[in-house]
Point group: C2
Chain length 155, copies 2
């Protein structure tokens, strides 16, 4: 099963980019991981916040190339690490070809994106930057695959 | 109000150490932050997991120099970022001199440590490495202080 991530803009914070790169490498042992980075359009100050969210949402949805869409949002369903591992096993058993995970921009998701989501997950009730959320998601995906492989988590 | 963190062992992962250093610098604008790093004794393989946890717990508690102790544990009380900011304001209004935050080792806390805690907080239902938890905690403390200062969060 392919895992697809769509990122809104490059990861600017260097230490986060380094951590993300590390987990991308490690995850490649377990799954086909594709990261698509689309243009961050926030710089267009002529748009209102809602317009930016709508534009971002349209761009994100246009980039998705999976039939199952998971949005990460603070208000979503909370699961623990074993729960995420179980969810991945379930998708695999269902024969899903790919799963796409979306992380919203700093303003969150437009309603249209959340309406399209098959599942809305929350990593935490806390607010993290969307760049840090990338690292957290990749770490949890890696943890889930090591759990499913019955392997020790290698730090 | 002084914020005290006790870390069990140095942060080995370089990108996490870089992120932690970044937030330590930023937090210094808002509060007196003290990080005490105590020796990680896990290498003593002659001890059982419970003995390691007990030893770690004893070392952690011995290092605490605050009258209010917060333990970060996956099973603790979940709060959102505004909640943490409000909690810090409340401690300040109560005239507390310092708050100590403890992060457990990979095995979690010994019962004796949790019994000593004035508050057990959970950053997430997910399991993160204790090194990543350091970064998450510092990021949330920084976010809390910017919220309380009515400032924009600077990434």
């Amino acid at each position: 099963m392919r895992i697809e991530l769509v990122f809104l803009g490059k990861t600017k914070e260097k230490y986060l980019a380094a951590g993300i790169e590390d987990f991308v490498k490690r995850l490649s042992r377990y799954t086909r991981l594709e990261i698509k980075t689309i243009r961050d359009t926030r710089q267009h100050r002529k748009f209102s916040e809602n317009q930016v969210k709508e534009n971002e949402g349209r761009d994100l949805l246009a980039a998705v190339n999976s039939s199952f869409l998971v949005c990460l949002d603070r208000t979503g369903k909370q699961i623990d690490s074993d729960g995420l591992a179980g969810q991945i096993r379930q998708w695999e058993m269902q024969g899903r070809k790919s799963i796409c995970f979306l992380i919203g921009g700093p303003l969150g998701f437009a309603p249209a994106v959340l309406q399209q989501a098959d599942l809305v997950l929350s990593l935490s009730r806390l607010t993290f930057t969307h760049e840090m959320t990338r690292l957290l998601l990749l770490e949890q995906l890696y943890r889930a695959y090591t759990i499913n492989a019955g392997e020790k988590y290698h730090k």
